[in-house]
Symmetry: C2
Subunit: 199 residues, 2 copies
């Protein structure tokens, strides 16, 4: 149960939560986990492999958190899509360390099967929500993959810049959901409100 492999992953997550990527080395993780500096290589072929496992876990956690938030809403695809965007940014800002790791390909092993699966699952989640929204007529003329990519880029850009404090003070003091509110105007502004055509 508390196998070394799990301890290593826990130590990595703890370090990410505490100090982020700063000082996150294989030997430091080993020290935190209470094992020798060579022990991690018995469970992961490299530092990248260990970080990929952690990144995959973080992707899964984020996907679940988003799913929970979306599930609370009724069957309103556009509202669900917006809520997913907010939940995405909320997760990133609440877990900046793991989030940064997820989008640092040079630290990860891109061929890691679990990382690939988890990242694709996250994308598929957004793609499905986008498709549902488009099915209601909202932006049905925009190519699906293109729209999904742009929406992802939007929330990713907000999360990234906010985490690294790159947004100037005036923007930074706003609630992150406030940023998304602008997207909401975008999203809801164009064709018709989705559930009004049903009542």
């Amino acid at each position: 149960m508390n196998g070394t492999r799990e301890v290593l992953i826990s130590a990595t997550v703890a370090h990410l939560d505490g100090r982020g990527l700063d000082g996150l080395t294989l030997r430091q993780i080993a020290r935190d986990a209470g094992v020798s500096h060579g022990a991690p290589l018995r469970h992961f072929t490299s530092l990248s492999a260990l970080l990929s496992a952690v990144a995959a876990e973080s992707f899964d956690t984020m996907t679940e958190a988003i799913q929970l938030r979306v599930a609370r809403l009724g069957d309103n695809p556009l509202a669900q899509l917006l809520e997913a965007g907010r939940a995405y940014v909320d997760y990133a800002l609440a877990n900046p360390g793991p989030y940064e790791l997820m989008f640092r390909p040079e630290l990860l092993d891109r061929s890691d099967a679990d990382y690939f699966r988890a990242s694709v699952a996250a994308y598929e989640q957004l793609a499905t929500l986008t498709a549902n929204a488009q099915a209601t007529g909202w932006r049905s003329d925009t190519p699906h993959a293109l729209l999904t990519g742009v929406l992802w880029a939007g929330v990713h850009g907000i999360a990234s810049l906010q985490i690294q404090g790159a947004l100037p003070a005036a923007t930074n003091t706003h609630d992150p959901s406030g940023l998304l509110a602008v997207f909401q105007i975008d999203l809801a502004g164009l064709p018709a409100a989705p559930d009004r055509s049903n009542s």
Copy 2:
């Protein structure tokens, strides 16, 4: 003229253009520049300081490139804003190495005056274009700093994900300007077309 300082910066830029951040070490830069491994520290207090100088230069280059593209257009603030967004993404995709460096605070020296100046100048450029567009009535009710931040996050997210190949194939094969076209719909969709009210 061909002082060691300039040679070091050139070598760094060349490395960024050729291999990106991969293998970009102080000693490798020194080897490329044909000096000893300790020489760079005579001109820069640390690796971060050298990288900050290069990042500042890249920011300035990008700002100029955007300004050129915008200046070609007539006095149509909304069209200028859109063109700036396209020029931003174009620069990032044409110079992925320098662009990645610009947004890697842990590699840079945040207190570097020139880096700060150059990054603020880039932000101010976008802020001005945004303000001009808002002055025509476009989204004049959205707080200026908030809108600027969201626009920046949008293009930054697109550029970042595209550079690291994180967007799936269907999205990736599109012309990057195609991605922005979706933003164009957003931007132009809401109130009124800006120049029609003039003719």
